[in-house]
Amino acid sequence: MELFLHQVLAGIATGGIYACMALAIVMIYQAIDHLNFAQGEMAMFSTFIAWQLIQWEVPYWAAFFITLAVSFAGGYLIERIIMKPIHNAPILSHVALFIALFAVINSLAGFIWEYQIKSFPSPFGTHSVLGEGLISAHDAGMTGVTVTLLVFLFLFFRYTRIGLAMRAAAANPESARLVGIRVEWMLALGWGMAASIGAVAGMLIAPVVFLEPNMMASILLYGFAGAVVGGLTSPGGAVIGGVLVGIIENLAGTFIPYVGSELKLSIALALIVFVLTVKPSGLFGRSVVHRV
């Protein structure tokens, strides 16, 4: 029983990582109606920027917020410069472009900062909360930040004009234009926000998994799983989904005999497929109705 509890708590901790990433994914999906495969790499790159700033003796929180700003600008620019020319191209071209972005960012990061792992500081410290080694302060802090972000996003999309405008632009660009919304600006804004959220995710994740150019690849996968399970249209669902994925993955790895730990990844993926088949819009998502 104690092992079960430990694994659940550990699952919540890793799930927090996935939830963070899932939030960034859902964010960009809300904004541009596409899934950006390069999201993880952008987050990784942002984290490296933060690391570099800290190496240059910039205090942690200053580096944190500078990175957020830089990431926002970066996301905005990527949308304006790279994504704009193919606005009207079919979705396949968009996905191909995301893949190209992935390759470029990953390669650049490896070129600039090399592939040796680097430790990234945590603002929360590493001591334990809740008794011996059950949850570390960082894990708790990470959960806290994720929840805060979540609340912020919820309020933003629900209660601000810009949030509403963004949702309109993503849902129906033509109609949005007709009512005076500058759709291009909304898209770029969405990218900028998603990039910033990704940066937060990266900076929270790096202390646990150590910083290196390939750190985000598998996390992106679990982030997708979490986003899908929770529902691509629901930020709250994405967070819960991420945590669920973490818990299930850990429990499967521990309690399914013989092949459990070999199949951790596959189980996460089977989860994606299962949820997609049974309830495509996820546990908390809205069903989208297509009009003829």
Partner: protein, 408 residues
């Protein structure tokens, strides 16, 4: 008068012998070798999941530049041609074929990764091109009977595990062992070596064997399971990133077993420092190369040579990266083999000389460690010395050991 009949033929014969001379009679070349250059091929992962190891290729490239700047080998410059395989076996096959058939190299040296090397092994042996000093510790590379053109270099993983097994049997005969291993050939090779080394006691002593995948973000869950299994000896078979995570997590949950860490991840700077030097105190491992960051080698000639090389020829590299020390050392062995070949640069002779290393000592080998090969011994390095981490540096103890390997 009779003399004239034989005079001209005799003169011709005499001239022929005179001009032929000893050097012309001994110069023999296979594709890739000429009077002025030797083409050496290499396959390294410069992209993809194993791109961290690309540093080895870069270091070797810089090292050969140094050798060339100092006159080359027997007057010939080394032309080092290295291609990226992204750690993908089909790509490795393509690059190997490119090197052999298109670039026409004399040999392929230090190809990296067990899957890539497995993919090209049959081809290299069929084409009779040396697949020399492969960059993997898998035990199967020392098999001259079946694969006479393939040779490893570093101490095999199994021989390293044997040393750990002996240590455990001697010092903790009643211990309970928990193993964390990467779920691929490298990890499984280590585990096999440990089990073989423990012999009959393997079954009773090993209480947990927990794998992880390279795709896993963390190994935290696995560490929790290992602690719960009641193990008091932890055999940690992980690559640097996961090793650091494992050490950190173990400390976080207050698990303090006898911690044996595989050599692959024993770098102070790359693993122990990120994991926390205090958390790493007491960890055991083995080494065969000097850790150049260790202050005990401050005035060591070999280490000084290495630093001078890095400063001059690979300044953009990281002197503290163990992979560079590795690349430098294996480069030196390659140059030694080429030197021994003299002017007979056939592929057959390259293998012959590679199998003819006697007590070879190099700049970064630990004192007492020498490379040795013979027609039946295709493991150039099979010695290790155990070391313990004091919290500040690795402290060697015990004799230099040869881990016996139970064949390939």
């Amino acid at each position: 008068m009779h003399m004239h009949k034989y005079l001209i033929p005799a003169m011709v014969l005499g001239m022929a012998i005179g001009t032929a001379g000893p050097s012309a009679a001994q110069k023999k070349y296979d594709p890739g070798a000429t009077d002025t250059e030797i083409k050496v091929g290499n396959i390294n992962p410069y992209s993809g999941p194993a791109s961290a190891y690309g540093t080895i290729g870069k270091t070797i490239d810089a090292f050969f530049k140094k050798v060339n700047a100092e006159g080359g080998v027997n007057g010939r410059k080394i032309n080092f041609i290295s291609y990226d395989d992204g750690y993908s076996p089909p790509k490795a096959v393509e690059q190997a074929r490119k090197l052999v058939e298109s670039d026409e190299v004399l040999l392929i040296f230090q190809s990296l990764g067990t899957p890539s090397n497995t993919a090209i092994q049959k081809y290299m042996n069929a084409k009779q091109v040396p697949q020399l000093f492969v960059a993997t510790g898998a035990t199967k590379w020392g098999d001259p009977k079946n694969f006479p053109w393939t040779m490893g270099w570093q101490p095999s993983y199994q021989s390293e595990s044997h040393i750990y097994a002996q240590y455990i049997l001697k010092n903790h005969p009643n211990g309970k062992i928990g193993i964390l291993y990467q779920n691929d050939d490298y990890g499984k090779d280590y585990v096999k070596g440990l089990k073989d080394g423990l012999g009959d006691k393997a079954k009773s002593m090993i209480v947990a064997e927990v794998p992880y995948e390279v795709a896993d973000p963390t190994v935290d869950s696995q560490i929790i399971n290992l602690k719960a299994s009641g193990a008091d000896i932890f055999f940690n078979v992980t690559t640097p990133k996961f090793a650091a995570q494992a050490i950190k997590k173990a400390a976080e949950i207050g698990w303090k077993p006898v911690h044996i860490l595989n050599q692959v991840s024993s770098s102070l700077v790359s693993v122990l420092k990120p994991a926390g030097l205090e958390n790493s105190k007491g960890i055991l491992s083995t080494g065969y190369l000097k850790d150049v960051t260790d202050p005990q080698w401050k005035n060591d000639v070999g280490v000084k040579n290495f630093f001078a090389f890095m400063d001059k020829y690979f300044p953009e590299g990281d002197k503290t990266n163990a992979l560079s020390a590795y690349g430098y050392s294996v480069g030196q062995t390659m140059v030694q083999v080429l030197k021994q070949c003299g002017d007979n640069l056939t592929r057959e002779n390259v293998m012959k000389q590679a199998a003819n290393l006697k007590d070879l000592q190099q700049d970064l080998f630990l004192p007492g460690i020498k490379a040795n090969t013979s027609a039946t011994d295709f493991y150039p390095l099979d010695q290790n010395q155990m070391m313990k981490f004091t919290g500040e540096r690795w402290e060697y103890f015990g004799p230099v050991l040869t881990g016996a390997t139970g064949g390939s």
